[in-house]
Point group: C2
Chain length 521, copies 2
């Protein structure tokens, strides 16, 4: 039986440009997972992981021209954006090298034996070990930063877990190129190349989630696809953690005072955020609560002006475009919804123009057909709901599902704590994993304090897929009880030979030895 | 419609002694969950949680005579054991008060804005917030420490989550008494009493897991019951974290040299551990790999001698006894299995005698009918498999499911690192959440470095249900981006008014203010 071909398609023309490979068979997925499982020992040594992550970053940076060209040919995201995305991707790999070297993520706790307790405590020493092979499902909208060499892969490798990536069908050639570069980097870093592999095809995705040697999964994509994989992961004979990032509306609340103070700045800022990457960001602001009345009118005017001036853009593929146009049309059929700028089909086969929908906030509060507006519509459109009271804001917020982000636009006086600002912030916190005051939700820094996750359907777990704590998703604790020093892993030995930060006898973490690896280089 | 009665049954006689209450209706469960959700604000203040946990501990200690009498009447565990279990339970509540006061569990991270990054980092501040109402499913075998006032409840309250407990049908009167004491303690601590409630009945358990305001669940019990609830939690419109502790075989490997050195000590130690609480511990050693030959024979002789001398004991209820006797009979029908001491029915309606089964290790390696011996058999029985080579040990370990614990019994020389000890320890680590060298797995210290969890079916998540990190299960991170100081939660304000340990700009946690709450009192 011949494998179904996997094509690289140019979104600008809608035409196939090359056959990249064939869809992975069940046997092929099995081979990749078994090889990754067999290679897991190559990641046991933290120094090897640091070498791998840094070499991978250097290798990808060195391949920038080919990589951005390959990704642009398949995604039409443009060289400038893809150059930035590659820089983010390699900075992320280097950040995880620092995480590994620092060692805090091991969360080492040592409790010496304590006979004063009833009953006495034995000597207990705990750290975190890698879960095993991680399945990563690549995203459509970030061919690098959330795909083969992206955050799930970088954090899993940092944790010591080999990775098998299910490539996104929108950019299979980029996936193959990245996999070849990463496997080459592994070889040069002295690590078995099988710690990273790529498979292709829908069936490969389900084969992967069912494989008994797959120990956890990371996913970035749609609610439908992510929920299906989540359910398969939970229904396995041995269920596994499924860290899915599915969908988010990313509500924005603009107070009356904020609109009065800077309506034009907010309108153009919002236009920039919602059209960034042609609205194909999981953090796109999709619902804006703006005041009825003149200040809100000014905001809407500035927004529609900027959106009208936005050039038609190419979506990732024809399926995205169809879903976008259908989603917009369905929303426009709802009573009271109007389009100051109608999103529409652009000249090319996957081109669209950005748009804005608006309506009074009231219909969003009653659980009727307008609930459709509380679902994400992927692409360059946002919905501006005009409220007439704070109660109406609250009533809409009460109906929202979980989100990655929630943003509050405040006036200068409100930022000092005046008015309802604190109460509004309290209403937003239960809704999302990241709460912004000012600024826009697009743009997610890879920082220690980052959290990119939120109540379902934003994510299916309490983990984050961006930021250094993403590594925690791929680890489980193990405690050693009264194990003699000679047999303990070096991380837990009494003299701390690796110089790791450890919580000893309940005290805050401290390094009681010399660090083995330099965290910053 | 009248609610089905909930009876308190004396296991010593098998007779109903009192009708405690009626099974909770769907409306009753809804009321309890809504009241808990409404009361959640009472737990927002860390000082209130500390007061609640300490007052609860004092209240339960003061009620020791009634509590141990009530629990003994329903479980027949005996006053001595229950007095110890109560002490453990109240020490656990106080330990979680310390966790709350210390504040490390908030995992606060602050990254100041950094324009030197590309793109620039905004100010980001992250901590962990409570998930919401937690459903706790009480265990049969610990009417206090893993039931209404147990570890799941204590850790959830510490996290700031109200709790609705589904009482175990084996000790409903104890559950009601505990709930009344805890609600009274809440009132005296100035906390709304609805932060803790109890419901009864099988249907109440499924109503609870389906309730939209239930945000997470903790469970201790059988694989069958836990898996069913896990699957319901995953299938909800909004899936929720399900932290279940289901079943564990707790393998023990005795090396040839260890047996040669201290066969008798090992045999009697094993007898003590496997008969503790009449074998009704989730950490009971259920499979022992002991060497064939004279040293192993001595171990078996000491074991069978001690088990024979063990008095008949009362199991928790008639259903447990039937399952135990059926499980033993089924195992005894397997080829090559013999019983040096046959576990059997004792004089009372729920009484049994402890026993030992034995067989050569080889049949456990081939995936045949002997796989039954790789499943937990709840009650006072252990299986001793006699191996003839290290390869045979490895072959059996390769077939084991996940476990809470795995124990290695080593000789003095092996403890210094001689022989195969290190390799054996490496084989045990993937199998369990706690690895012991020497000692026995029963007895789980409530310590910072504890981990009571393990690969499925030991637990359904990577969390622990014992030890101070159990609090982490009921929290999710939230990041605040460029939120003005005046609007930030006090935990995240620049001047650290609560004196909490915080990771600032990637540095290790430090307290940059005066702690608001004394951790140790």
């Amino acid at each position: 039986m011949t494998a179904a071909p996997v094509w690289s398609v140019d979104p600008r023309t809608g035409k196939r440009c090359a056959q990249v490979t064939g869809e992975s068979s069940t046997a092929g997925v099995d081979r990749a997972v078994r090889a990754a499982h067999t290679a897991r020992g190559a990641l046991a040594d933290r120094a090897a992981r640091v070498r791998l992550l840094r070499t991978a970053a250097d290798t990808l940076d060195a391949a920038r021209p080919e990589l951005t060209a390959a990704a642009d040919a398949e995604t039409a995201l443009g060289t400038a954006r893809l150059t930035g995305e590659l820089a983010r991707t390699t900075a992320q790999l280097r950040a995880f090298a620092e995480v590994v070297a620092d060692g805090s993520f091991l969360d080492i706790r040592i409790d010496h034996a304590d006979d004063s307790r009833t009953p006495p405590w034995p000597d207990l020493r705990r750290y975190r070990v890698p879960l095993g092979v991680v399945a990563v499902y690549a995203a459509s909208n970030f061919p690098l930063a959330f795909s083969v060499p992206g955050g799930d892969t970088a954090s899993a490798l940092a944790a010591g877990c080999p990775v098998v990536v299910k490539a996104h069908p929108g950019h299979p050639a980029t996936a193959e190129l990245c996999a070849a570069l990463l496997r080459g980097a592994a070889r040069r870093a002295g690590v078995a190349e099988d710690v990273i592999a790529v498979v292709h095809g829908f069936d490969a995705g389900t084969d992967l989630i069912h494989h008994p040697l797959v120990a956890a999964a990371g996913f970035t994509g749609s609610v439908r696809g992510g929920r299906a994989l989540h359910d398969l992961a939970a229904a396995r004979p041995v269920p596994i953690p499924f860290h899915g990032e599915l969908g988010s509306l990313n509500p924005v609340v603009v107070t009356e005072a904020a609109a009065a103070e800077r309506a034009e700045e907010l309108g153009t800022g919002l236009a920039g955020s919602m059209t960034l990457g042609e609205g194909q960001f999981c953090t796109k602001p999709g619902l804006v609560l703006a005041p009825a009345g003149p200040a809100g009118d000014r905001l809407l005017t500035a927004l529609t002006g900027a959106v009208t001036a936005h050039d038609p853009g190419v979506l990732l593929d024809g399926r995205m475009r169809t879903a976008f146009l259908d989603g917009v049309a369905e929303r426009l059929r709802l009573p009271s919804v109007t389009a100051p700028v109608t999103p529409g089909a652009g000249p090319g086969p996957t081109t669209v123009t950005a748009g804005v929908l608006t309506l009074p906030a009231a219909p969003l509060t009653d659980g009727g057909p307008h609930d459709l507006l509380l679902e994400e519509c992927f692409g360059p459109v946002t919905v501006v709901a005009r409220y007439t009271s704070t109660d109406e804001i609250t009533a809409v917020l009460d109906r929202l599902p979980g989100n990655l982000t929630a943003t509050l636009q405040l006036s200068t006086a409100e930022s000092r704590g005046e008015g309802d600002a604190a109460a509004l912030l309290d209403r937003l916190t239960p809704l999302a994993g990241r709460i912004l005051a000012g600024g826009w939700p697009t743009g997610v820094a890879v920082a220690p304090a980052q959290h990119h996750g939120g109540p379902y359907p934003a994510t299916t777990s309490t983990g984050t897929s961006v930021g250094t704590t993403a590594v925690e998703r791929w680890l489980r604790p193990v405690t050693y009880q009264t194990v003699p020093d000679a047999l303990l892993p070096p991380e837990l030995r009494e003299d701390n030979p690796l110089g790791l930060p450890r919580r000893v006898d309940g005290r805050p973490p401290a390094v009681d030895g010399d660090p083995d690896l330099p965290a910053t280089w």
